[in-house]
C-alpha cells in the first residue's frame, strides 16, 4: 500500500474540524471487481500472466452557509492480486469551497479536466495521471491547490497555485503493461525544490456562438517525466539481474495550451494545441485536431452512432518523444440509448513513423439500475523495436469489471 502524501494526510486530519451543524451531506459510492486477461506470454518471466483486483470509490459532499460553502471528499482504493504498486489508496478530492460575490475559492485536493479531444489529452496538465489504474490517462491523482475562479462577461477565469507535486507511480516487477526496465524509486528533479516546487496555472474559457474556446498557461513541474537510463549502484528496483534502471526526471516547463471546439449541427470540430518550453530543449509544439460526426436515431432506432477521426502531432524527439507524434486515430462511439445505457467506444490508431497500430475497445451496460458491467480490450501491434509501444507488444489484454453502485 502506497502511503498517502503529506497533503492527503493533512486533509484527513483537518476534516473533523469542519462543522457539520446543518443537514447531512450526500454520499455516493461504488465497489468494483476486475479481471485482466492477457492473450500472450509476458516478456519477462517475472511477470504474472493475469490479474484480478477489487476497488472502491466513495464520495461525500456537504453544503452549508446557505450553499455558499462546501466540503467534498472523494477517496479511491484498489487491491490488486499481482501488483503491490497497483494496490493503492488515493484521495482524489478533499477540498473546501466558498463562493464570494465576484469570485470563488477552492482549497485542497482537486481533480481538473481540460480538453475537448478523445484520442489524446494534450492540454490537460493540472493533475498527475494515475497510470496504475489505466494507461488512458483519464484516471488522476488528487492535486493540492488554491484555485480562484471568476466568471466575467468575457469568460471564465481560473488561477491555480499548486504548492506540491505528485510523482507518477509505476507498475511493479510482476505486473504487465510496464517498461522492460525497472523505474527507480527515487525520482530526480530539475528544480532544487524537488516536489515542493510551487506551480502556477491560469486558464480562460468562453464560448462565442458555435465556438467553445480555452487558453491556458502552466509553469512548473512537468507531470510527464523523462526516463533516463541509470546504472547507479545499489538500485534494488532493477527487474533483471543487470543494474540498469530508468530514472524518472521531472523537468520544469512552461506550457501554453489552446482548445477550440465548433459544434455545428451533427458535427463537432475539435482542436487542442500546446506550445511547451523546456530547459536544454527549447520550444516545441504538439496538436491534435479532428472531428466527430453523429448519426442520430440510427435506422429510426434510439441509437446514435458517432464517427471520430483525429490526427495527432508532436515534434518532441529523442527521450521526449510521445506515443502520439504522427498518428491518425479513427473511432466509433455507439450509444444504444436503451434502458441499460449500453455503449461502445472503439478507437484504432496508426503511427505513420513507426508503422505500429493500437486498438482500444470499451463496452459497457447496466445489468440493473445498481449494477454495471464494463469490458475493455487493448491491442498493441508493434513489431518495430524502435517504436515507443514496442515494450507493450506482448500485453494485449481484455478486462472485465463489475460494479455495484450505492
Amino acid at each position: 500500500m502506497k502511503p498517502l502524501t503529506s497533503w492527503a494526510r493533512a486533509a484527513v486530519v483537518a476534516l473533523p474540524f469542519f462543522s457539520f451543524s446543518t443537514a447531512a451531506g450526500e454520499v455516493k459510492a461504488y465497489i468494483g471487481a476486475e479481471g485482466r486477461y492477457f492473450f500472450n506470454e509476458p516478456l519477462s518471466s517475472a511477470q504474472e500472466e493475469h490479474s484480478t483486483s477489487l476497488s472502491a470509490n466513495i464520495e461525500f459532499f456537504h453544503d452549508y452557509d446557505n450553499d455558499e460553502q462546501r466540503i467534498a471528499i472523494t477517496a479511491f482504493g484498489r487491491a490488486d492480486s499481482v501488483d503491490n504498486n497497483r494496490t493503492h489508496l488515493d484521495l482524489r478530492e478533499a477540498y473546501w469551497w466558498k463562493g464570494f460575490d465576484q469570485f470563488e475559492v477552492y482549497l485542497g485536493l482537486r481533480k481538473i479536466f481540460w480538453g475537448v479531444t478523445e484520442s489524446v489529452h494534450l492540454v490537460d496538465i493540472i493533475n498527475q495521471k494515475d497510470v496504475l489504474e489505466n494507461i488512458d490517462g483519464e484516471q488522476k491523482l488528487g492535486q493540492g491547490m488554491l484555485q480562484l475562479v471568476s466568471q466575467r462577461d468575457w469568460g471564465l477565469l481560473e488561477l491555480f497555485v499548486m504548492p506540491h507535486f505528485r510523482e507518477q507511480q509505476f507498475p511493479g516487477e510482476k505486473a504487465r503493461l510496464r517498461s522492460p526496465l525497472a523505474i527507480a524509486e527515487q525520482a530526480i528533479y530539475q528544480s532544487d525544490k524537488g516536489d515542493q516546487h510551487v506551480d502556477f496555472a491560469v486558464s480562460w474559457n468562453h464560448y462565442f456562438g458555435v465556438f467553445d474556446m480555452s487558453l491556458s498557461h502552466f509553469s512548473g513541474t512537468n507531470r510527464n517525466p523523462l526516463f533516463i537510463p541509470s546504472t547507479q549502484e545499489g538500485n534494488e528496483q532493477a527487474f533483471q539481474q543487470t543494474d540498469t534502471v530508468l530514472q524518472a526526471l521531472y523537468q520544469q516547463i512552461h506550457q501554453t495550451g489552446l482548445t477550440v471546439q465548433a459544434t455545428a449541427a451533427e458535427w463537432l470540430w475539435k482542436l487542442e494545441a500546446i506550445s511547451i518550453e523546456e530547459q536544454h530543449y527549447g520550444r516545441n509544439s504538439a496538436a491534435v485536431a479532428g472531428l466527430e460526426y453523429t448519426l442520430f436515431t440510427l435506422f429510426n432506432s434510439n441509437a446514435d452512432l458517432g464517427l471520430i477521426a483525429e490526427y495527432q502531432f508532436d515534434d518532441r524527439t529523442g527521450i521526449r518523444e510521445t506515443f502520439a507524434q504522427n498518428d491518425l486515430a479513427l473511432g466509433l462511439r455507439w450509444a444504444f440509448n436503451d434502458i441499460d445505457g449500453s455503449e461502445l467506444l472503439a478507437i484504432a490508431s496508426h503511427d505513420f513513423d513507426y508503422h505500429t497500430q493500437f486498438v482500444s475497445l470499451e463496452l459497457g451496460r447496466r445489468i440493473t439500475d445498481d449494477w454495471r458491467i464494463e469490458a475493455e480490450a487493448r491491442f498493441f501491434v508493434a513489431d518495430n523495436p524502435e517504436a515507443p509501444s514496442y515494450a507493450l507488444r506482448q500485453d494485449d489484454y481484455i478486462q472485465l469489471e463489475l460494479r455495484r453502485y450505492f
Binding site: 481533480k111 466568471q151 471564465l156 449541427a265 463537432l268 453523429t294 436515431t297 436503451d338 445498481d370 453502485y405
Partner: protein
Amino acid sequence: MNLIKNTLFPFLTISSLYFASAALAETPEQKGLAIAREVDTRDLGFGDSTADITMALRDQHGNERTRKMRNRTMEVAGDGDKSIIIFDNPGDVKGTAFLSFTHKTGSDDQWLFLPALKRIKKISSSNKAGAFMNSEFAFEDISSQEVEKYTYRYLRDETFEGTPVFVNESDPVDPKSGYSKLEVSIDKARYIPLKIDFYDRGERLKKTLILSDYTQYLEKYWRAHTWSMKNHQTGKSTVLTMDNWNFANGFTDKDFNKNSLSRIK
C-alpha cells in the same frame, strides 16, 4: 431540455395588437397562431423555478424502471430559457448534469458534465427526435420551443374530459423534427395544453401526451404535475411526475454556466 415550462409553447414579446388580431382572426392559420401566442404570453414572467422529476418507464409487458432528476430553470428576457437537469439515478449516471440554453432562432446550446472525469462536453443539439433517457419523450417534446419553430392552424372546438378546448395544429418548421404535425388540445379558459397527439413523418398517429394535475403558482402560472406519454406504435409509455415546485429562487446567469455546471451536486 426544458422540463419546467408546462407548455410546449415559448415566450414571445407581444403587443396588445396581437390580442386584437386574435379576436378578429379570420383564417385558421391566424387563429392558430393567436392561440399559440396567448398560451405563451400567459406564462411570461415566472422568473425561475425548480422541481423534482420522477420518470416511470413502462414497456409493453408492464415492466417498469424509475428515473429521478432535478431541474432548475430561469426565464431569459427575449430568448429561450436556461436550464439545468441533474440526474440522481441510475447509480452509474448519478451526478451527471445537463445545461441547456434554448434560443428563439438557431440551434440551442447544450453542455454535459461527466462527474467521473470532471469533464464538460459541449454536445450537439441536433438530436431532436432522439429519446430522452430511453423514455417515450423525445428531446424536442421537453425542450422549450419557440413560436417561430412551428406554423399553426386552428382546427376545431372540442370538449376534452368535460373541458372546452381549442384543437390547434402545430407543424414543425425544422426538418430534423421527428413529427409531421402535432394536434394540441388547449383549455379555452386557462390557455394551457391538456392533450397532444404527435404524428410521425408518415402522418401516422405515434404518441399521445396527457397533461394533468395542474396547480397554479404565484397566482398566475399553471404547472402540470403529471405528464403521461403513450406510444401507440410500440405500446410503451412514460409517466413523468414533477413535484416540489419552487419559484422565486433568485437565480442569475451565474447559476447557469459551465462553472456552475462543474460544481453542481
